[in-house]
């Protein structure tokens, strides 16, 4: 199989801006090409667009607006994990020899139709994500005797880390008291336990090893990919305090990369809500079940940015189609030692976890220098 890496990236600040999806996509595409003038657009033979927007034919539209005539140009929608699914598609095109260089661009508006999975009638009238998140939270708290105060640390930590991310939606720091006194959404969820949907755009270019050698001096390689879909409907989850899709996807990705979870120095995981961070850490093997709050508190107290250095979804914001790409860019920057004030020491391997629809599917990537 052909080796595939990330050659370049472009990302713009997340916001609440009201802008057409086509123009939003172009924000990070333009940023990428302006900052990487050595890339010849004529070499790009694939364009993958990640979004939940209802606009049609976005692959060819981005190609035309970028002055690219690729072999393949498509849109990829998979709710919140559209971004990493688009990266995996681009990887597959290159690894199979169908393409050498693929542009992956993702964007979303603050009012994305991807907020709710209308199909999931098992949720009855409780289709908004806050309801599955509340039930996960209640189940996790009961199973492991975790308090609301314990979980609040996730939000405090990730907002603090986002403060060092110039592209993050949030620029504010919160205390545990702030989280606990924020608006009560449900019995088990407060406003500051929730990531916020926003407007955002992020792009990467993936290339084969042969092409990469022509222009990139610091390529980052995708050495592991794992994906798992357990269902589409929330209520098909067998456990409401662990994430099977994350467990299976990370096992597959780490096995492909020939890595152990202890080899991972930086993690971007899908903290759509506070409880998702400990659940994902435990399911992927970073901590024993019920023990990751202790790890999260230690990381926070020692200003160790290992988990969600850019602030995760909670601090950075959650523009669905751009999220997985932004997570990947963060790990690329960490590996290239370009993360500024949020840089983690000596990062040799990083992991991205991106999931959809109440944890019913996950994609995990392992990246290395």
């Amino acid at each position: 199989m052909i080796r595939v890496g990330i050659a370049a990236y472009g990302i713009v600040p997340f916001s609440k801006e009201d802008k057409k999806i086509e123009n939003l996509l172009m924000d990070s595409v333009a940023e990428l090409f302006v900052k990487n003038p050595e890339i010849d657009k004529r070499d790009i033979d694939g364009v993958m667009v990640s979004t939940n927007s209802n606009s049609k034919y976005l692959g060819p539209i981005v190609a035309e607006m970028s002055g690219i005539q690729p072999k393949a140009s498509v849109s990829i929608e998979n709710l919140c994990s559209s971004g990493t699914n688009a990266i995996v598609s681009a990887y597959s095109y290159i690894a199979s020899g169908l393409a050498d260089m693929v542009l992956v661009t993702g964007a979303e508006r603050f009012d994305s139709p991807g907020r709710v999975l209308d199909w999931d009638d098992s949720r009855g009238e409780f289709k908004q994500p806050v309801f599955w998140a509340s039930l996960f939270t209640k189940s996790y708290k009961n199973q492991f005797s975790i308090s609301e105060e314990d979980l609040a640390v996730v939000s405090v930590k990730n907002h603090k880390q986002a403060k060092n991310n110039p592209n993050a939606l949030s620029g504010r720091i919160f205390s545990v008291k702030d989280v606990l006194s924020s608006k009560q959404v449900t019995e088990d969820l407060r406003l500051l336990d929730c990531s916020r949907l926003c407007t955002g755009s992020a792009s990467v270019i993936l290339a084969s090893k042969d092409v990469m050698e022509n222009f990139s001096t610091e390529p980052i390689w995708i050495t592991g990919i794992g994906q798992k879909t357990t269902s589409a409907g929330f209520t098909k989850n067998n456990s409401f305090y662990s994430i099977k899709s994350a467990k299976d996807a990370s096992n597959t990705a780490l096995k492909m990369a020939k890595k152990d979870v202890t080899d991972i120095d930086a993690v971007e995981l899908h903290d759509a809500f506070s409880v998702c961070e400990p659940m994902a850490l435990e399911s992927m093997g970073f901590s024993k079940n019920g023990k990751s709050i202790k790890l999260i508190k230690e990381l926070h107290q020692t200003d160790n940015f290992k988990v969600n250095p850019r602030g995760g979804l909670m601090g950075a914001g959650h523009p669905l189609g751009a999220t997985g790409i932004a997570q990947t860019i963060e790990i690329v920057q960490q590996l290239q030692e370009r993360s500024g004030a949020r840089q983690i020491d000596d990062v040799k391997a990083g992991l991205v976890h991106n999931m959809s629809a109440a944890a019913t599917s996950s994609t995990v990537l392992v990246l290395e220098k």
Binding site: D121, S122, G124, E125, L135, N142, V185, L189, T235
Partner: protein, 102 residues
């Protein structure tokens, strides 16, 4: 009539495969196991609360039906995990299913 049409008239029927007799959830024309045709059965089924939370004074809970599939239902009283309940009201409102337990 389809499951949704029955639900719309306030009846919660159990979708079952006519070939392998498995319960099929979510309701579909085809069995997700053997792709046999799915019919609807009127059963005196067991419903058990798996987990619950609350929004203002409204409780919402995961209810497991016949130890087979789960739905989210509404209740207007304090709940207990593991409690056996029954569906007191169901239907389709503004295009969304709704389920209430007693």
């Amino acid at each position: 009539m389809s499951f949704e049409e029955r639900l719309g008239s306030g009846e919660f029927l159990i979708p079952k495969c006519s070939q392998c007799e498995r319960i099929v959830w979510p309701p579909s024309e085809y069995c997700s196991s053997c792709f046999g045709k799915v019919g609807l059965e009127r059963l005196d089924f067991e419903a058990r609360i798996v987990e619950f939370s609350r929004e203002n004074d409204k409780y919402f809970c995961i209810v497991e039906i016949e130890r087979s599939f789960k739905i989210i239902a509404k209740a207007d009283r304090i709940l207990l995990a593991g409690e056996i309940v029954s569906i007191s009201k169901c239907g389709v409102r503004n295009g969304n299913y709704f389920f209430e337990i007693n």
